[in-house]
């Protein structure tokens, strides 16, 4: 936006061929765990004020030093003065239905829970090869240099098992970040403060600058900004 755009070389891409390749790849390398109920996140890109309290709560819970960030609130802005817009995209690990990280792990440290589909890394098995970091299309796995392991969001499994919500959700003063069964969140049938009833039509699986959800089927939905939609691109207001 603000700086000069870098010229892009056109790449010939055929969506159908890519889809086929993904299906073929998945079949060859991995049979996903199908959880009883998949939990996922919902985040309101517009009402989020970008305070990053969720990030800090997460770092507190997980004892992370400055550097690795399990949760990342991404700032997006655009338009031309004075017709500008801004919104936030908030992501940690998406606990994907078909995690790209999982099959790349040479020791099998990464596993998906049958109960709720949470993807976690067994730190006692992690050898710090950082393959998952490269495989994840969303930048979720974070290398912890002091421990020479990779670690990431596990949706606060201990909190979930105790019947509570993760730290990030509890820290959000705007109540725009929440978790729930992803199928219900997608249908907008799960009661959550992250979304107002009239915002149903803004519910999306993918926003701009985000990797194709076909890749791993991430368990996350967003209330998108009109300029953040990929389905119907709009001009700045």
């Amino acid at each position: 936006m603000a700086n000069e755009p870098v010229p892009k070389n056109p790449v010939l891409q055929d969506k159908a061929t890519i889809k086929e390749a993904i299906v073929r790849h998945k079949k060859e390398v991995y049979t996903p765990v199908v959880p009883a109920q998949q939990f996922g996140f919902i985040h309101n890109n517009v009402d989020c004020i970008g305070c990053r309290a969720c990030e800090i709560a997460c770092k507190d819970k997980n004892g992370l030093a400055p550097g690795p960030r399990f949760r990342r609130v991404m700032y997006v802005e655009g338009g031309t003065y004075p017709a500008v817009y801004a919104y936030k995209v908030n992501m940690s690990c998406n606990h994907c239905a078909e995690p790209a990280c999982l099959p790349t792990c040479p020791t099998g440290a990464i596993y998906k829970r049958k109960k709720d589909g949470i993807v976690d890394i067994d730190s006692s098995l992690c050898i710090g090869c950082r393959r998952c970091e490269a495989a994840c299309p969303y930048g979720a796995p974070q290398f912890i240099p002091e421990q020479n392991i990779v670690s990431k969001c596990n949706m606060c499994v201990d909190e979930i098992d105790a019947g509570r919500k993760p730290y990030c959700v509890m820290a959000c003063m705007m109540r725009v970040l929440d978790i729930g069964p992803i199928d219900k969140l997608r249908e907008a049938t799960y009661p959550t403060k992250a979304m107002a009833p009239h915002e149903k039509d803004k519910l999306v699986r993918q926003v701009k600058s985000m990797a194709d959800p076909e890749l791993t089927n991430p368990s996350i939905v967003f209330i998108a900004h009109s300029n953040g939609r990929v389905d119907e691109p709009k001009e700045p207001k």
Binding site: A2, N3, C48, C51, I56, V76, Y81, M174
Partner: protein, 591 residues
Amino acid sequence: MRMAKQNGCKFVLVDPQYTDSASAYDAWWIPIRPNTDAAMMAGMAHYIFTSNLQDQNFINKFVQGMDAGTMPDWAKDKENFKDYILGKYDNTPKSPEWAAEICGVSADDIKKLAQLYATTKPAALKASWAPGRNAYGEQYNRMAAALQSMTGNIGILGGCAEGIGKAWHAEGVAYPYDEFANVFYESIKSDRWAHCVLNYPNVKREEIGLWPGGKAGDGVIPNIRGIFWQGSDWFNQLTNINKEIQAINKLDLVVCNDSTITPSGLYADVLFPIATHFERHDVALPWYKGHYYIHRPKVIEPLGESKTDLQIYTELAYRLGGDQFGKRYNPKANRDYFLYNDAVDNAYLQEWWEHKVMAHQHVDMSWAEFQKYGIYKFKLDRPHVAFQDNVEKGVPWPTASGKIEIFSGQLAQYDDWTKTAYGYEIPAIPKWIEPFEYLGDKEKTAKHPFHLISPHPRHRTHSIFNNIGWLRETYEQEVTINAADAKKLGIKTGDTVEVFNDRGKVVVPAYVTERCMPGVLVIYEGAWLDLDENGIDRSGNPDMLTLDEPSPAGSFAYNTVLASIQKTDLAHKPGWDRLATARSHVFRRDL
């Protein structure tokens, strides 16, 4: 606010920056030149008067001096607000077109907003504080009060009264303060301390805001020899730091109380290590508009040699004034308070809870229960609205006239301004007055073409927590500049730049954006001063550049600053430790 938006409330933001609040509340953004808000509001008032949209009933009933008809009898010959706005006194109607020239908002937008504000019932004009922290900032606040009262938006649910227009008040402090234990009447405007020290004894009382209260010793220019800093990183936070550095070298004694060594602490002769709030027993009162109390138990004993502020002051009282003064200063304590403070502290807090909170605020919860629950939140039986009783029940306002004084009787009756707390004239009605420096000043902008503002950061509280790595990781200290301006200067996001004026120079990375008004620079206040060998601040503390000349009513002119910006080879240092530069910008910019 979010629920208000969901219920259909429309938001408008008048600000040099398109803030995250603006985006979250989907606001209509009206960019405005800093320090010109009073002019824009005068333009709105003009539109409202000339379109006859004012709430004349409300004005006649509750307001003094809004127009000729509401002037007090003794002041019929003085200026009233409406005739000032219409240009009767100076042949300059304060029309939207007049205002547009000054504030950079188009006359059409001023009219549109005035129409919207005057016809939407109710409407809340939330005149936030930064535009008041300016040269003649009081005119902005008073102009807002004029708009709020001319539209009848005071004392009603959904309206908003100026300043701390709150209807719920916390019970005040628990700890001892015997206001007669150590009487000293003199006070000066705190951002004038360096001026006073450097120029003593050739200082006029109005220059430092020395208030003649008619007490002994009063009006004598103080020969400041020492400073005791407590509860604040003062040196780092006040205006014109280079002037402060000169002044501090003239002092005999600087004492600093703090739990961490801050930039102020580096300049102290005596540094008292202070217990944090985790190491003492206390209650947290809400700031501004909350209605709750939070219990703060002592979690651990104070580390090392640290003591609470109150322990230090009690001990000092004993040592300076003997048993009598010590006892008077802290009546519940004995001399051993310096070593054993728990029982005394609890006694004060319990007394406060039982005799103030329980007695005055209809709270049933006992002190013991409150300590167990840790929090008490008031359930209000109805929304508390400031000044509701004044409007609904005719209770007089707490002013001399019993009305909302748009024409201030007090200000109108001063003849010698040097003998007031203000020092310089403040007109009796709100007026637009040209600030000491701003974008409309052709001469000064020829040298320093940008207006710098320094809002509160959200990743620290003023300067507190700047030493927390997690927080510095979430945001960088940086200067925000409009994309078109940056292009002209060859500046890109992430470039290191120097921002400077005649008062000082700072080095920071640039954040280039369309979200900022051209001609405006933004640097958040409170970064911890880090000087290089030439006295240039590498942390990016904007108070190196601010003006130590307060507005007559007393507010610091933090946002009245002209400055220049250019690319530099000098180094920026994001903090006092070796934390890497924030990764936030990787996710944040230019997606």
